[in-house]
Protein backbone atom coordinates (compact mmCIF):
# COMPACT_ATOMS: atom_id res chain seq x y z
CA UNK A 1 0.00 0.00 0.00
CA UNK A 2 1.19 3.52 -0.79
CA UNK A 3 -0.05 6.42 1.30
CA UNK A 4 0.73 10.10 0.83
CA UNK A 5 0.02 12.38 3.77
CA UNK A 6 0.19 16.14 3.33
CA UNK A 7 2.49 15.60 0.37
CA UNK A 8 3.88 18.90 -0.86
CA UNK A 9 6.49 19.02 -3.59
CA UNK A 10 8.34 22.08 -4.81
CA UNK A 11 10.41 22.14 -7.99
CA UNK A 12 12.79 25.07 -8.53
CA UNK A 13 11.12 26.84 -5.62
CA UNK A 14 7.60 26.53 -7.10
CA UNK A 15 5.00 24.39 -5.32
CA UNK A 16 3.74 21.84 -7.86
CA UNK A 17 1.91 19.55 -5.43
CA UNK A 18 0.13 21.02 -2.44
CA UNK A 19 -0.78 18.94 0.64
CA UNK A 20 -1.98 15.83 -1.18
CA UNK A 21 -3.57 13.05 0.91
CA UNK A 22 -4.15 9.86 -1.08
CA UNK A 23 -3.88 6.12 -0.62
CA UNK A 24 -3.48 3.24 -3.09
CA UNK A 25 -4.20 -0.22 -1.68
CA UNK A 26 -3.25 -3.69 -2.90
CA UNK A 27 -5.84 -5.05 -5.29
CA UNK A 28 -6.52 -1.55 -6.59
CA UNK A 29 -5.75 0.30 -9.82
CA UNK A 30 -5.64 4.09 -9.68
CA UNK A 31 -5.75 6.49 -12.63
CA UNK A 32 -4.39 10.00 -12.14
CA UNK A 33 -5.99 12.38 -14.62
CA UNK A 34 -6.01 16.12 -15.18
CA UNK A 35 -4.95 18.85 -17.53
CA UNK A 36 -1.34 19.55 -18.49
CA UNK A 37 0.87 20.81 -15.64
CA UNK A 38 -1.65 19.61 -13.05
CA UNK A 39 1.10 17.75 -11.16
CA UNK A 40 0.27 14.20 -12.31
CA UNK A 41 3.82 13.15 -13.21
CA UNK A 42 5.21 14.83 -10.10
CA UNK A 43 2.73 12.91 -7.91
CA UNK A 44 3.57 9.52 -9.42
CA UNK A 45 7.33 10.24 -9.19
CA UNK A 46 6.98 11.34 -5.59
CA UNK A 47 5.00 8.17 -4.81
CA UNK A 48 7.88 6.19 -6.36
CA UNK A 49 10.31 7.94 -3.99
CA UNK A 50 12.06 9.70 -6.87
CA UNK A 51 11.43 13.26 -5.63
CA UNK A 52 11.86 14.25 -1.98
CA UNK A 53 8.80 16.03 -0.58
CA UNK A 54 9.13 19.58 0.71
CA UNK A 55 6.57 18.61 3.38
CA UNK A 56 4.54 15.52 4.20
CA UNK A 57 5.35 11.85 3.73
CA UNK A 58 5.15 9.01 1.28
CA UNK A 59 4.68 5.70 3.10
CA UNK A 60 5.04 2.24 1.59
CA UNK A 61 3.31 -0.31 3.82
CA UNK A 62 3.66 2.18 6.66
CA UNK A 63 7.38 2.83 6.15
CA UNK A 64 8.61 6.22 4.98
CA UNK A 65 10.05 5.68 1.52
CA UNK A 66 12.97 8.03 2.21
CA UNK A 67 14.22 5.61 4.90
CA UNK A 68 14.41 2.67 2.47
CA UNK A 69 17.61 1.83 0.59
CA UNK A 70 17.31 2.22 -3.16
CA UNK A 71 17.77 -1.55 -3.68
CA UNK A 72 15.03 -2.35 -1.17
CA UNK A 73 12.73 0.06 -2.97
CA UNK A 74 13.44 -1.71 -6.24
CA UNK A 75 12.17 -4.98 -4.79
CA UNK A 76 8.82 -3.44 -3.84
CA UNK A 77 8.02 -0.81 -6.40
CA UNK A 78 8.81 -0.04 -10.05
CA UNK A 79 8.36 3.10 -12.11
CA UNK A 80 7.95 3.57 -15.87
CA UNK A 81 8.34 7.09 -17.31
CA UNK A 82 6.35 8.28 -20.29
CA UNK A 83 9.42 8.06 -22.51
CA UNK A 84 11.75 5.26 -21.43
CA UNK A 85 15.42 5.81 -22.18
CA UNK A 86 18.16 3.29 -22.99
CA UNK A 87 21.37 4.85 -24.25
CA UNK A 88 23.38 1.65 -24.76
CA UNK A 89 22.71 -0.62 -27.72
CA UNK A 90 21.05 -3.45 -25.83
CA UNK A 91 18.71 -6.01 -27.32
CA UNK A 92 15.12 -6.16 -26.08
CA UNK A 93 15.99 -9.12 -23.82
CA UNK A 94 19.07 -7.37 -22.38
CA UNK A 95 16.98 -4.27 -21.68
CA UNK A 96 14.38 -6.30 -19.80
CA UNK A 97 17.13 -8.04 -17.82
CA UNK A 98 18.13 -4.64 -16.38
CA UNK A 99 14.98 -4.90 -14.26
CA UNK A 100 16.69 -7.66 -12.24
CA UNK A 101 19.63 -5.44 -11.23
CA UNK A 102 18.78 -5.45 -7.51
CA UNK A 103 17.50 -9.03 -7.61
CA UNK A 104 18.88 -12.49 -8.38
CA UNK A 105 18.83 -13.39 -12.10
CA UNK A 106 15.59 -15.15 -13.08
CA UNK A 107 15.46 -16.30 -16.71
CA UNK A 108 11.95 -17.72 -16.25
CA UNK A 109 10.65 -14.33 -15.17
CA UNK A 110 12.33 -12.66 -18.16
CA UNK A 111 10.79 -15.22 -20.51
CA UNK A 112 7.37 -14.76 -18.90
CA UNK A 113 7.63 -10.96 -19.20
CA UNK A 114 8.56 -11.27 -22.89
CA UNK A 115 5.67 -13.64 -23.50
CA UNK A 116 3.04 -11.61 -21.61
CA UNK A 117 3.91 -8.39 -23.44
CA UNK A 118 4.08 -10.11 -26.82
CA UNK A 119 7.75 -9.30 -27.27
CA UNK A 120 9.07 -12.87 -27.49
CA UNK A 121 9.58 -12.62 -31.26
CA UNK A 122 11.43 -9.32 -30.83
CA UNK A 123 13.62 -10.50 -27.94
CA UNK A 124 16.90 -10.38 -29.85
CA UNK A 125 16.15 -7.20 -31.83
CA UNK A 126 18.12 -4.07 -30.91
CA UNK A 127 15.97 -1.93 -28.61
CA UNK A 128 16.71 1.19 -30.66
CA UNK A 129 15.21 -0.30 -33.79
CA UNK A 130 11.79 -0.52 -32.16
CA UNK A 131 9.02 2.05 -32.44
CA UNK A 132 8.27 4.21 -29.39
CA UNK A 133 5.15 2.16 -28.69
CA UNK A 134 7.19 -1.05 -28.72
CA UNK A 135 9.78 0.60 -26.47
CA UNK A 136 7.01 1.42 -24.00
CA UNK A 137 6.03 -2.27 -24.06
CA UNK A 138 9.67 -3.20 -23.33
CA UNK A 139 9.63 -0.85 -20.32
CA UNK A 140 6.48 -2.56 -19.03
CA UNK A 141 8.09 -5.98 -19.59
CA UNK A 142 11.11 -4.77 -17.60
CA UNK A 143 9.00 -3.88 -14.58
CA UNK A 144 7.03 -7.13 -14.81
CA UNK A 145 10.40 -8.92 -14.69
CA UNK A 146 11.35 -6.79 -11.69
CA UNK A 147 8.58 -6.69 -9.14
CA UNK A 148 6.66 -9.43 -7.38
CA UNK A 149 2.99 -10.04 -8.16
CA UNK A 150 1.95 -7.98 -5.13
CA UNK A 151 4.41 -5.13 -5.81
CA UNK A 152 3.60 -1.53 -6.70
CA UNK A 153 3.63 -0.43 -10.30
CA UNK A 154 3.76 3.31 -11.00
CA UNK A 155 3.45 4.26 -14.65
CA UNK A 156 3.36 7.61 -16.44
CA UNK A 157 1.34 7.64 -19.67
CA UNK A 158 2.23 4.00 -20.38
CA UNK A 159 0.16 3.73 -23.58
CA UNK A 160 0.89 7.19 -25.03
CA UNK A 161 2.76 5.94 -28.10
CA UNK A 162 1.06 2.54 -28.46
CA UNK A 163 -1.40 1.56 -31.16
CA UNK A 164 -4.87 0.53 -29.98
CA UNK A 165 -4.10 -3.21 -29.95
CA UNK A 166 -0.87 -2.76 -27.97
CA UNK A 167 -2.61 -0.39 -25.55
CA UNK A 168 -5.46 -2.83 -24.97
CA UNK A 169 -3.07 -5.72 -24.36
CA UNK A 170 -0.98 -3.71 -21.88
CA UNK A 171 -4.01 -2.26 -20.15
CA UNK A 172 -5.21 -5.81 -19.47
CA UNK A 173 -1.77 -6.67 -18.06
CA UNK A 174 -1.97 -3.72 -15.65
CA UNK A 175 -5.49 -4.79 -14.61
CA UNK A 176 -4.17 -8.32 -14.00
CA UNK A 177 -1.36 -6.93 -11.86
CA UNK A 178 -3.84 -4.86 -9.84
CA UNK A 179 -5.61 -8.04 -8.72
CA UNK A 180 -2.82 -8.66 -6.18
CA UNK A 181 -0.58 -5.62 -6.41
CA UNK A 182 -0.98 -1.86 -6.72
CA UNK A 183 -1.13 0.03 -10.02
CA UNK A 184 -1.03 3.82 -10.22
CA UNK A 185 -1.15 5.17 -13.78
CA UNK A 186 -1.06 8.70 -15.13
CA UNK A 187 -3.45 8.77 -18.08
CA UNK A 188 -4.77 11.41 -20.46
CA UNK A 189 -7.23 9.09 -22.20
CA UNK A 190 -10.32 8.94 -19.97
CA UNK A 191 -11.66 5.84 -21.73
CA UNK A 192 -8.43 4.05 -20.80
CA UNK A 193 -8.72 5.43 -17.25
CA UNK A 194 -12.27 4.07 -16.99
CA UNK A 195 -11.22 0.65 -18.35
CA UNK A 196 -8.24 0.37 -16.00
CA UNK A 197 -9.02 2.06 -12.74
CA UNK A 198 -11.00 1.29 -9.63
CA UNK A 199 -10.36 4.85 -8.45
CA UNK A 200 -9.64 8.08 -10.29
CA UNK A 201 -7.75 11.02 -8.82
CA UNK A 202 -8.32 14.32 -10.62
CA UNK A 203 -5.56 16.86 -10.15
CA UNK A 204 -5.57 20.53 -11.02
CA UNK A 205 -2.75 23.03 -10.41
CA UNK A 206 -1.12 20.76 -7.85
CA UNK A 207 -4.30 20.08 -5.90
CA UNK A 208 -6.46 16.98 -5.69
CA UNK A 209 -9.83 18.38 -6.69
CA UNK A 210 -11.84 15.15 -7.01
CA UNK A 211 -11.55 11.43 -6.48
CA UNK A 212 -13.92 8.52 -6.86
CA UNK A 213 -14.95 5.61 -9.00
CA UNK A 214 -14.74 6.31 -12.73
CA UNK A 215 -18.47 5.71 -13.17
CA UNK A 216 -19.21 8.36 -10.56
CA UNK A 217 -16.59 10.89 -11.58
CA UNK A 218 -16.82 10.73 -15.35
CA UNK A 219 -20.04 12.68 -15.81
CA UNK A 220 -20.10 14.59 -19.13
CA UNK A 221 -21.03 17.95 -17.55
CA UNK A 222 -18.31 17.70 -14.93
CA UNK A 223 -15.65 16.65 -17.44
CA UNK A 224 -16.70 19.33 -19.92
CA UNK A 225 -16.46 22.00 -17.24
CA UNK A 226 -13.02 20.81 -16.15
CA UNK A 227 -11.35 20.07 -19.49
CA UNK A 228 -13.17 22.70 -21.57
CA UNK A 229 -14.27 20.13 -24.16
CA UNK A 230 -17.83 18.81 -24.62
CA UNK A 231 -18.13 15.17 -23.53
CA UNK A 232 -20.57 12.40 -24.31
CA UNK A 233 -20.79 8.80 -23.16
CA UNK A 234 -20.28 5.73 -25.34
CA UNK A 235 -22.79 2.86 -25.33
CA UNK A 236 -20.89 1.21 -22.46
CA UNK A 237 -20.63 4.46 -20.48
CA UNK A 238 -17.07 5.48 -21.34
CA UNK A 239 -16.48 9.26 -21.59
CA UNK A 240 -15.89 10.42 -25.16
CA UNK A 241 -14.65 13.96 -25.89
CA UNK A 242 -16.53 15.65 -28.73
CA UNK A 243 -13.59 17.36 -30.42
CA UNK A 244 -14.62 20.31 -32.55
CA UNK A 245 -18.09 20.13 -31.04
Amino acid sequence: MIRCTGLTVALSGRVVLDAIDVEARRGEAIAIVGRNAAGKTTLVRAMAGLIPPARGDVLWDGVNVSSLHVRVRAQRCAFVPQRPQVSARFSVRETIELGRFALPPNPQRIAAALDRTGLDLLADRPYHELSLGQQQRVALARVFAQIADDGCLLVDEPFAAMDLGEADRCLKLLREHAQRGVVVAVLHDLAQARALADQVWLLDAGNLIARGRPTDLFQPEFLAAHFGVPFGLSADGAPVPRFGG
Binding site: R45, A48, G49, L50, V70, R71, R73, A74, Q75, C77, A78, F79, V80, P81, R83, P84, Q85, V86, S87, A88, R89, F90, E94, L98, G99, F101, A102, L103, P126, H128, E129, L130, S131, L132, G133, Q135, A139, R142, V143, Q146, A161, D163
Partner: protein, 336 residues
Amino acid sequence: MSMRLTRAQRGLAILLGAVLACAALRLLIGSGGFGWPADAVVRYRVNAALGAAAVGSALAIAGLFLQVLLRNPLASPFVLGLSSGAGFGYMVALFLAWRFGIELQGGLGIGGPVLAATVGSLATLAIVWRLGARGGTADPLALVLAGVVLSAIAGAGTTAVQSLVPAGLRGDFLAWMMGRIPESPPAGLLVLVIVLAVTATAIGAALGRALDVASLSDDEAASVGLSLARLRIVLFGFAGLLAAGTVTLAGPIAFVGLIAPHAARMLLGPRHGTLAIGSSLAGAGLLLLADTVRQSVDLGAGRLPVGVVTAIVGGPLFLVLLRRGPFVQWEGGRGA
Protein backbone atom coordinates in the same frame (compact mmCIF):
# COMPACT_ATOMS: atom_id res chain seq x y z
CA MET B 1 35.77 -31.70 -27.75
CA SER B 2 35.30 -28.37 -29.53
CA MET B 3 35.11 -25.15 -27.54
CA ARG B 4 33.06 -22.24 -28.88
CA LEU B 5 34.17 -18.80 -27.79
CA THR B 6 31.56 -16.18 -27.04
CA ARG B 7 31.58 -12.88 -28.93
CA ALA B 8 33.06 -11.17 -25.87
CA GLN B 9 35.84 -13.75 -25.44
CA ARG B 10 36.68 -13.58 -29.15
CA GLY B 11 36.73 -9.79 -29.07
CA LEU B 12 38.92 -9.61 -25.98
CA ALA B 13 41.35 -12.15 -27.48
CA ILE B 14 41.59 -10.04 -30.67
CA LEU B 15 42.17 -6.85 -28.68
CA LEU B 16 44.80 -8.46 -26.45
CA GLY B 17 46.58 -9.84 -29.51
CA ALA B 18 46.48 -6.39 -31.12
CA VAL B 19 47.95 -4.74 -28.01
CA LEU B 20 50.79 -7.26 -27.84
CA ALA B 21 51.51 -6.85 -31.56
CA CYS B 22 51.50 -3.05 -31.28
CA ALA B 23 53.74 -3.19 -28.22
CA ALA B 24 56.20 -5.44 -30.09
CA LEU B 25 56.20 -3.05 -33.04
CA ARG B 26 56.81 -0.08 -30.75
CA LEU B 27 59.78 -1.88 -29.21
CA LEU B 28 61.22 -2.77 -32.60
CA ILE B 29 60.78 0.59 -34.35
CA GLY B 30 63.03 3.45 -33.34
CA SER B 31 64.44 6.55 -34.88
CA GLY B 32 67.31 4.40 -36.19
CA GLY B 33 64.99 2.04 -38.09
CA PHE B 34 63.44 -1.39 -37.56
CA GLY B 35 65.09 -3.94 -35.29
CA TRP B 36 65.90 -4.85 -31.72
CA PRO B 37 67.56 -1.80 -30.15
CA ALA B 38 70.98 -1.55 -28.60
CA ASP B 39 71.08 -2.25 -24.86
CA ALA B 40 71.42 1.42 -24.03
CA VAL B 41 68.20 2.22 -25.91
CA VAL B 42 65.99 -0.65 -24.70
CA ARG B 43 65.02 1.18 -21.51
CA TYR B 44 63.73 4.19 -23.47
CA ARG B 45 61.64 2.07 -25.80
CA VAL B 46 60.18 0.06 -22.92
CA ASN B 47 59.35 3.32 -21.14
CA ALA B 48 57.67 4.67 -24.27
CA ALA B 49 55.71 1.44 -24.83
CA LEU B 50 54.58 1.31 -21.21
CA GLY B 51 53.71 5.01 -21.25
CA ALA B 52 51.71 4.74 -24.48
CA ALA B 53 49.83 1.67 -23.27
CA ALA B 54 49.06 3.21 -19.88
CA VAL B 55 48.01 6.61 -21.25
CA GLY B 56 45.88 5.03 -24.01
CA SER B 57 44.24 2.69 -21.56
CA ALA B 58 43.59 5.47 -19.02
CA LEU B 59 42.09 7.79 -21.66
CA ALA B 60 39.87 5.01 -23.01
CA ILE B 61 38.46 3.95 -19.65
CA ALA B 62 37.87 7.61 -18.72
CA GLY B 63 36.08 8.03 -22.07
CA LEU B 64 33.92 4.99 -21.38
CA PHE B 65 32.92 6.27 -17.93
CA LEU B 66 32.04 9.69 -19.36
CA GLN B 67 30.09 8.25 -22.30
CA VAL B 68 28.01 6.00 -20.05
CA LEU B 69 27.37 8.39 -17.17
CA LEU B 70 26.60 11.37 -19.38
CA ARG B 71 24.68 9.12 -21.81
CA ASN B 72 26.66 10.88 -24.47
CA PRO B 73 28.47 8.95 -27.21
CA LEU B 74 30.50 12.06 -28.05
CA ALA B 75 32.01 12.31 -24.58
CA SER B 76 35.72 11.87 -23.90
CA PRO B 77 38.29 13.62 -21.70
CA PHE B 78 39.54 15.62 -24.70
CA VAL B 79 36.19 16.55 -26.26
CA LEU B 80 34.68 17.65 -22.93
CA GLY B 81 37.70 19.76 -22.06
CA LEU B 82 38.95 17.67 -19.11
CA SER B 83 42.35 17.27 -20.72
CA SER B 84 42.67 21.01 -21.32
CA GLY B 85 41.46 21.74 -17.80
CA ALA B 86 44.02 19.30 -16.44
CA GLY B 87 46.71 20.93 -18.60
CA PHE B 88 45.83 24.33 -17.19
CA GLY B 89 45.98 23.00 -13.63
CA TYR B 90 49.33 21.34 -14.36
CA MET B 91 50.80 24.51 -15.80
CA VAL B 92 49.55 26.59 -12.86
CA ALA B 93 51.27 24.10 -10.52
CA LEU B 94 54.53 24.45 -12.47
CA PHE B 95 54.23 28.24 -12.28
CA LEU B 96 53.50 28.27 -8.53
CA ALA B 97 56.31 25.79 -7.85
CA TRP B 98 58.77 28.00 -9.74
CA ARG B 99 57.41 31.17 -8.13
CA PHE B 100 57.81 29.80 -4.59
CA GLY B 101 60.96 27.79 -5.28
CA ILE B 102 59.49 24.30 -4.77
CA GLU B 103 61.35 21.33 -6.34
CA LEU B 104 58.95 19.18 -8.39
CA GLN B 105 61.17 16.56 -9.98
CA GLY B 106 60.97 12.93 -8.78
CA GLY B 107 59.47 11.20 -5.74
CA LEU B 108 56.51 12.92 -4.13
CA GLY B 109 57.16 15.94 -6.31
CA ILE B 110 54.72 14.61 -8.90
CA GLY B 111 51.87 14.83 -6.37
CA GLY B 112 51.40 18.58 -6.63
CA PRO B 113 51.10 18.80 -10.42
CA VAL B 114 48.84 15.72 -10.56
CA LEU B 115 46.63 17.17 -7.84
CA ALA B 116 46.46 20.54 -9.63
CA ALA B 117 45.69 18.80 -12.92
CA THR B 118 42.94 16.76 -11.21
CA VAL B 119 41.38 19.93 -9.81
CA GLY B 120 41.55 21.47 -13.28
CA SER B 121 39.91 18.51 -14.99
CA LEU B 122 37.18 18.04 -12.36
CA ALA B 123 36.38 21.76 -12.32
CA THR B 124 36.02 21.66 -16.11
CA LEU B 125 33.76 18.61 -15.89
CA ALA B 126 31.61 20.29 -13.24
CA ILE B 127 31.16 23.39 -15.40
CA VAL B 128 30.44 21.34 -18.53
CA TRP B 129 27.87 19.27 -16.61
CA ARG B 130 26.31 22.43 -15.20
CA LEU B 131 26.02 24.00 -18.65
CA GLY B 132 24.95 20.92 -20.59
CA ALA B 133 22.75 18.90 -18.26
CA ARG B 134 19.29 19.50 -16.89
CA GLY B 135 17.91 17.31 -14.11
CA GLY B 136 20.26 14.44 -14.82
CA THR B 137 19.54 14.51 -18.54
CA ALA B 138 22.39 15.73 -20.66
CA ASP B 139 21.99 17.23 -24.11
CA PRO B 140 24.85 15.60 -26.08
CA LEU B 141 25.57 18.58 -28.31
CA ALA B 142 25.26 21.13 -25.49
CA LEU B 143 27.83 19.15 -23.50
CA VAL B 144 30.20 18.99 -26.45
CA LEU B 145 29.83 22.68 -27.21
CA ALA B 146 30.45 23.56 -23.57
CA GLY B 147 33.51 21.28 -23.64
CA VAL B 148 34.88 22.89 -26.80
CA VAL B 149 34.51 26.40 -25.38
CA LEU B 150 36.02 25.52 -22.00
CA SER B 151 38.80 23.65 -23.75
CA ALA B 152 39.65 26.78 -25.74
CA ILE B 153 39.61 28.93 -22.59
CA ALA B 154 41.76 26.46 -20.64
CA GLY B 155 44.16 26.13 -23.60
CA ALA B 156 44.55 29.91 -23.78
CA GLY B 157 45.08 30.04 -20.02
CA THR B 158 47.73 27.32 -20.25
CA THR B 159 49.60 29.20 -22.97
CA ALA B 160 49.41 32.41 -20.95
CA VAL B 161 50.69 30.79 -17.76
CA GLN B 162 53.49 28.89 -19.50
CA SER B 163 54.86 32.14 -20.84
CA LEU B 164 55.42 33.19 -17.20
CA VAL B 165 57.54 30.09 -16.48
CA PRO B 166 61.24 30.05 -17.47
CA ALA B 167 61.87 28.06 -20.65
CA GLY B 168 64.20 25.62 -18.89
CA LEU B 169 61.48 24.56 -16.48
CA ARG B 170 58.57 24.16 -18.87
CA GLY B 171 60.57 21.90 -21.18
CA ASP B 172 59.32 21.30 -24.69
CA PHE B 173 56.03 23.04 -24.15
CA LEU B 174 54.79 22.85 -27.74
CA ALA B 175 55.32 19.07 -27.93
CA TRP B 176 53.63 18.63 -24.55
CA MET B 177 50.64 20.74 -25.65
CA MET B 178 50.21 18.49 -28.69
CA GLY B 179 50.63 15.32 -26.65
CA ARG B 180 53.82 13.27 -26.60
CA ILE B 181 54.89 10.01 -24.98
CA PRO B 182 58.11 10.63 -23.01
CA GLU B 183 60.91 8.09 -23.35
CA SER B 184 62.32 8.91 -19.94
CA PRO B 185 59.37 9.92 -17.75
CA PRO B 186 59.55 10.39 -13.98
CA ALA B 187 59.28 6.79 -12.75
CA GLY B 188 56.71 7.67 -10.08
CA LEU B 189 54.46 9.35 -12.63
CA LEU B 190 54.59 6.42 -15.04
CA VAL B 191 53.77 3.99 -12.24
CA LEU B 192 50.94 6.25 -11.07
CA VAL B 193 49.32 6.30 -14.51
CA ILE B 194 49.71 2.51 -14.87
CA VAL B 195 48.12 1.97 -11.44
CA LEU B 196 45.29 4.39 -12.23
CA ALA B 197 44.55 2.73 -15.58
CA VAL B 198 44.57 -0.80 -14.13
CA THR B 199 42.48 0.19 -11.10
CA ALA B 200 39.91 2.07 -13.18
CA THR B 201 39.64 -0.85 -15.61
CA ALA B 202 39.11 -3.29 -12.73
CA ILE B 203 36.49 -0.99 -11.18
CA GLY B 204 34.74 -0.61 -14.53
CA ALA B 205 34.68 -4.39 -14.99
CA ALA B 206 33.41 -4.94 -11.43
CA LEU B 207 30.69 -2.30 -11.85
CA GLY B 208 29.66 -3.61 -15.26
CA ARG B 209 26.04 -4.28 -14.31
CA ALA B 210 25.69 -0.88 -12.66
CA LEU B 211 27.09 0.76 -15.80
CA ASP B 212 24.56 -1.22 -17.85
CA VAL B 213 21.76 0.18 -15.68
CA ALA B 214 23.25 3.69 -15.95
CA SER B 215 22.19 3.66 -19.60
CA LEU B 216 18.59 4.07 -18.36
CA SER B 217 17.22 7.47 -17.32
CA ASP B 218 17.94 8.58 -13.74
CA ASP B 219 14.38 7.75 -12.66
CA GLU B 220 14.44 4.30 -14.24
CA ALA B 221 17.89 3.53 -12.84
CA ALA B 222 16.69 4.46 -9.35
CA SER B 223 13.58 2.38 -9.91
CA VAL B 224 15.62 -0.76 -10.62
CA GLY B 225 17.87 -0.11 -7.61
CA LEU B 226 20.84 2.01 -8.70
CA SER B 227 21.81 5.31 -7.12
CA LEU B 228 23.30 7.12 -10.09
CA ALA B 229 24.39 10.11 -8.01
CA ARG B 230 26.81 7.97 -6.01
CA LEU B 231 28.11 6.16 -9.11
CA ARG B 232 28.64 9.48 -10.90
CA ILE B 233 30.63 10.93 -8.00
CA VAL B 234 32.97 7.92 -7.88
CA LEU B 235 33.47 7.47 -11.62
CA PHE B 236 33.61 11.17 -12.51
CA GLY B 237 36.28 11.43 -9.84
CA PHE B 238 38.18 8.61 -11.52
CA ALA B 239 37.74 10.22 -14.95
CA GLY B 240 39.22 13.43 -13.57
CA LEU B 241 42.17 11.58 -12.01
CA LEU B 242 42.79 9.61 -15.20
CA ALA B 243 42.73 12.75 -17.34
CA ALA B 244 45.06 14.48 -14.88
CA GLY B 245 47.53 11.59 -14.79
CA THR B 246 47.67 11.27 -18.56
CA VAL B 247 48.03 15.01 -19.15
CA THR B 248 50.80 15.32 -16.57
CA LEU B 249 52.66 12.42 -18.17
CA ALA B 250 51.97 13.00 -21.85
CA GLY B 251 50.00 16.21 -22.41
CA PRO B 252 46.49 16.40 -23.85
CA ILE B 253 46.06 13.60 -26.42
CA ALA B 254 43.06 13.86 -28.70
CA PHE B 255 40.40 11.31 -29.61
CA VAL B 256 41.82 8.09 -28.09
CA GLY B 257 39.33 8.37 -25.21
CA LEU B 258 36.51 8.84 -27.70
CA ILE B 259 37.34 6.26 -30.36
CA ALA B 260 38.60 3.37 -28.19
CA PRO B 261 35.29 2.67 -26.35
CA HIS B 262 33.40 2.73 -29.67
CA ALA B 263 35.93 0.39 -31.29
CA ALA B 264 35.54 -1.97 -28.33
CA ARG B 265 31.73 -1.74 -28.55
CA MET B 266 31.83 -2.82 -32.19
CA LEU B 267 33.84 -5.91 -31.25
CA LEU B 268 32.31 -6.80 -27.90
CA GLY B 269 28.74 -5.53 -27.82
CA PRO B 270 27.15 -3.25 -25.21
CA ARG B 271 27.76 -5.07 -21.88
CA HIS B 272 29.95 -2.81 -19.77
CA GLY B 273 31.72 -5.44 -17.69
CA THR B 274 33.52 -6.72 -20.78
CA LEU B 275 33.52 -3.32 -22.41
CA ALA B 276 35.61 -1.80 -19.60
CA ILE B 277 38.41 -4.33 -20.24
CA GLY B 278 37.96 -4.09 -24.01
CA SER B 279 38.06 -0.27 -24.03
CA SER B 280 41.19 -0.30 -21.92
CA LEU B 281 42.90 -2.71 -24.33
CA ALA B 282 41.68 -0.80 -27.39
CA GLY B 283 43.02 2.47 -25.95
CA ALA B 284 46.39 0.89 -25.18
CA GLY B 285 46.60 -0.61 -28.68
CA LEU B 286 45.54 2.61 -30.42
CA LEU B 287 48.09 4.79 -28.69
CA LEU B 288 50.87 2.22 -29.10
CA LEU B 289 50.06 2.11 -32.81
CA ALA B 290 49.90 5.90 -33.07
CA ASP B 291 53.25 6.23 -31.29
CA THR B 292 54.75 3.61 -33.59
CA VAL B 293 53.49 5.50 -36.65
CA ARG B 294 54.88 8.73 -35.20
CA GLN B 295 58.23 7.02 -34.68
CA SER B 296 58.27 5.79 -38.28
CA VAL B 297 57.58 9.15 -39.93
CA ASP B 298 60.16 11.90 -40.11
CA LEU B 299 59.02 14.94 -42.08
CA GLY B 300 62.47 16.47 -41.99
CA ALA B 301 62.26 18.42 -38.75
CA GLY B 302 62.14 15.43 -36.42
CA ARG B 303 59.27 13.24 -35.23
CA LEU B 304 55.82 14.72 -34.71
CA PRO B 305 54.16 14.59 -31.29
CA VAL B 306 51.87 11.55 -30.99
CA GLY B 307 48.89 13.85 -30.38
CA VAL B 308 49.22 15.05 -33.97
CA VAL B 309 48.87 11.47 -35.23
CA THR B 310 45.83 10.72 -33.04
CA ALA B 311 44.20 14.00 -34.12
CA ILE B 312 44.88 13.37 -37.83
CA VAL B 313 43.44 9.83 -37.61
CA GLY B 314 40.88 10.34 -34.84
CA GLY B 315 39.38 13.63 -36.03
CA PRO B 316 38.02 12.32 -39.34
CA LEU B 317 36.91 9.08 -37.64
CA PHE B 318 35.00 11.18 -35.10
CA LEU B 319 33.26 13.02 -37.93
CA VAL B 320 32.40 9.78 -39.76
CA LEU B 321 30.99 8.23 -36.58
CA LEU B 322 29.14 11.45 -35.78
CA ARG B 323 27.52 11.32 -39.20
CA ARG B 324 26.50 7.68 -39.47
CA GLY B 325 28.03 5.53 -36.77
CA PRO B 326 26.78 4.36 -33.39
CA PHE B 327 26.16 7.95 -32.26
CA VAL B 328 22.88 8.40 -34.10
CA GLN B 329 21.58 5.21 -32.52
CA TRP B 330 21.85 6.77 -29.06
CA GLU B 331 19.21 9.36 -29.64
CA GLY B 332 16.31 7.13 -28.69
CA GLY B 333 13.44 5.49 -30.47
CA ARG B 334 12.62 5.80 -34.13
CA GLY B 335 9.14 7.10 -33.57
CA ALA B 336 5.98 5.15 -34.07
